[in-house]
């Protein structure tokens, strides 16, 4: 368990994010919870590509052939970071607009279209 701590932290963050969205009482809170959910994938990817004693995959300071961590997951994480920030920007714009139109930031009040 302890040796694989990063993986379990990733699972924990994932559930925390879901929990945050479910219990959310403010739309901005929902968006922030979503970023927590997202951060679980950072930890997971980072942990997967890590090697004990490995160096960063930048061959400016180290000689080729030295053990490095996986560069591919880092490239995937860069994409992940962009996805996160764009989704947040879009969701926040929706929240702002919903507030300007409906005067509310409570998810409960969004129930105009029930049924």
């Amino acid at each position: 368990m302890l040796a694989n701590l990063p993986y379990y932290v990733a699972a924990w963050l994932f559930l925390c994010g879901l929990y945050g969205i479910v219990r959310s009482r403010h739309l901005v809170h929902t968006v922030i919870s979503l970023t927590v959910l997202q951060s679980s994938t950072y930890v997971l990817l980072l942990a997967i590509g890590f090697r004990k004693g490995g160096y960063a995959p930048i061959f400016a300071d180290i000689a080729p052939g030295v053990i490095t961590v996986d560069p591919v997951v880092q490239a995937l994480m860069l994409t992940d970071v962009v996805v996160e920030v764009t989704v947040v920007a879009l969701l926040l714009a929706m929240v702002v607009k919903a507030f300007e139109k409906g005067g509310t930031t409570r998810p409960d009040d969004l129930r105009f279209m029930r049924g």
Binding site: L18, I48, G54, D70, V72, V82
Partner: protein, 256 residues
Amino acid sequence: MTEKRRLLLFFAGAIGVASVYCAGIRNMPPFGHYRGPYGDVIARLAVYERHTTDTVNAITYDYRGFDTLGEEFILFSAVTGVMLLLRPETQERRRRETEGENPESFRDRAALSETVQVFTTGMFGFAVLFGIYIGTHGQLTPGGGFQGGVIIAAAPMLLYVAENTDAFRRILSHPLMEFFEALGAAGYAVVGLVALAFSAPFLTNVLPLGKTGDVFSSGTIAVISACVGVEVGAGFMLVTYEYLREILSREKNTED
């Protein structure tokens, strides 16, 4: 659904999801023992084939460059979405048009102090230069177009902090900003198309490779990185402006 029921339902599901997740983890290779081979092969190849020293950027902008093209357009459509959502509606637009946007008609609030102004102007230049440096050295050291672009986009915020609202507005509301954003986004795809003219697959590097370690050592990576930097920088400034536009125009009105 009441909150209590919702949470009960969620916890029932969450236990299931957690069990599935943990069951998966227990079969994963132990932490710290990445097995490869994808990353290792590319790490070995990139220095020789692409003359880059930062392998992550070789992957982002070349080996898996097609992903990054998609990613740039995720940013592009999100920025478009923000502009779409926060666009001034017809009434407000009309009001603004009748008022007229004459930049001479308003002044900045009393400046904080000259020291602060001088300092932030200096910092502004530094941030822009630093952003450009980070953006152009991606193939050699950590950084790249994306990081550089965000840093450049953050630079005008310094002016806002220094209450130099006028300069801030002028930079952010510049009509060319949208054009630059689109140019950066399209530029990436066009770089890919150039390869087709040389009857090579999309996004193939067609530029000569330089000596590993030089700024222009890695062909298209530098060009693509620059495009990404322009797009990201302009995109973030556009988003910031959309959020602040109303507040800025109000500040202007109160000072008239």
